[in-house]
Amino acid sequence: MVAPQTPESLKISIQNLNFYFGTKQVLKNINLDMSEKKVTALMGPSGCGKTTLLRCLNLMHELTEDARADGVAILQPQDINLLADEVDPLWVRQRIGMVFQKPNPFPKSMYENVAYGLRLRGLKNKTELENRIEKALTQAGLWKEVSDRLQQPAFSLSGGQQQRLCIARALAVEPEVLLLDEPTSALDPISTAHIEEQLAEIKKHVTVIMVTHNLHQAARCSDDTVFMLNGEVIEKGRSQKLFTNPQDPRTENYITGRFG
């Protein structure tokens, strides 16, 4: 059965991206297109550069000394190269949100956590803040659990809830792209399932790019999958196709569990 083809627009287009830590090259000539309002999974063994690639997209690598990205990553529809020197990291991060591997809520109340991004942008109206917070928490699938105790500290939540709070925090500012860096690797299976369910809802509004080394996760909840190895893209394509009929023998070895 062939999946129905819907017209897709390009969201991010990466061209000839090379990335270095000092003199060590960790990404080699990456070329990738990511479609709007889809989930793209970056999959591969530890150290293959998938997290580095993800962090590049909202310029988190600029926090690390000696890190240098060389190449082009164009955000559509603005048609702007994110990696160009003249692009302000703040401009990029206002449009491209990120959720990290380990839940990292601020040591404040849940309300303050989700409100923070909005406050940064100067939103002061209390009613609107509350509406946006409710919307974001609903999208992250957390609203029902916490709606009656928003003023409690974020660290009183379980690990899975904390991670969903972080997703809500990123969604509250209505980004165009959401980057997820192994969002469930520190969580138990039930919390993982929760977050995966929510992804289907989130991708209706936002383009999601997700790093995972769990191939079942990539198969379950992504539209497209990119398989990376040693800083290179080995294979990319529709997840359905890539998992059932891999073209490259290394992809096949990885998804059949011969290594990784």
Binding site: F100, K102, N104, P105, P107, K108, F155, R169
Partner: protein
């Protein structure tokens, strides 16, 4: 039975005699004992000191003692100018130390490039913390009193003591900032915050209790300092209260020293009483700082 037998013979070759367990429990207990002893030693010395001061000078503590100026007659002498002076000097010191110390720490930790020059500055700050306080007095005499013509004033004293304790505050504040997890910064930046917003909303509030610990230590040291203040020309006999920051002053430790150096026994009682007040003032200053710390912690819940 002295040892367990396992089904796997490989495990049985290793012997775990019960005596070893007992010995480890014993060590564990001894360490606990040692830490308790350490605590009590410190507490007992403090209690003996307070008890001794009360025995010698407790009788002198009265409202008059707080409200009288120093006098040539021991029974009429009081510490009004001294405790008011100490409060003023500590207030000036605290304000300057917090503002300058915290800003310097933030600059060094967050903004300054990490190169040989900044490392040299760091090393020098550590060295300054170990400088004898009288050298700060000499510096202040030359710089504040003579060059800037501030005289032997409250302002000079506050600035001198502030210089003296700044290294401690800078080092403690830097440590407090550095101890924060990198993920806190990362989370803030990822939402599009500037460095300033990240500092104001997250890093400084989260580090403030560590910073206040440094301030508490610093002020406790400053309140008892005598040498640098004598060097800049603090008076030992003052029969008026300071009206402005440029007035001359005296402080409790100097008053105390002055009374102790007299031959009459009655003045020694006064010195003991002033010592009690000084101790109490130190506790009070610490209590204020701890109160601020608790207040600040309330909004931060890890």
């Amino acid at each position: 039975m002295s040892e367990a037998t396992f089904k796997n013979p490989a495990i049985n070759t290793a012997k775990y005699p019960e005596t070893s367990i007992k010995f480890r429990h014993f060590l564990s207990f001894m360490f606990k004992l040692l830490s308790i002893l350490g605590l009590f030693l410190g507490l007992i010395v403090l209690l003996v000191l307070i008890g001794d001061l009360i025995r010698r000078g407790g009788d002198r503590l009265s409202l008059d003692f707080f409200l009288n100026f120093p006098s040539r007659r021991a029974e009429k002498a009081g510490i009004l100018s001294a405790w008011v002076g100490t409060l003023w000097v500590m207030l000036i010191t605290a304000v300057m130390t917090v503002i300058v110390g915290v800003s310097a720490a933030i600059y060094l930790e967050e903004y300054a490039p990490k190169n040989r020059f900044t490392r040299l500055i760091e090393l020098n700050i550590l060295n300054l913390a170990a400088m004898p306080s009288i050298l700060y007095g000499l510096l202040a005499l030359g710089l504040f009193v003579h060059q800037m013509k501030l005289g032997s004033s409250l302002l000079t004293a506050g600035m001198t003591l502030s210089l003296l304790v700044l290294p401690v505050v800078i080092v403690a504040s830097r440590e407090a900032l550095r101890a924060l997890p990198f993920t806190l910064k990362e989370a803030s930046y990822a939402l599009g915050a500037t460095q300033f917003q990240t500092l104001v909303y997250h890093q400084v509030p989260a580090a403030i209790s560590g910073m206040m610990t440094g301030v508490i230590l610093a002020l406790s040291r400053a309140v008892g300092e005598t040498a640098p203040l004598i060097t800049i020309g603090a008076l030992t006999y003052i029969a008026f209260l300071p009206k402005s920051l440029l007035d001359s002053f005296t402080v409790l430790p100097i008053q105390l020293f002055n009374w102790l150096s007299r031959p009459q026994e009655e003045f020694h009682a006064n010195a003991a009483a002033a010592g009690l007040v000084l101790l109490f003032l130190t506790f009070l200053l610490n209590a204020v700082a701890i109160f601020i710390r608790i207040k600040a912690r309330k909004n931060i819940k890890w």
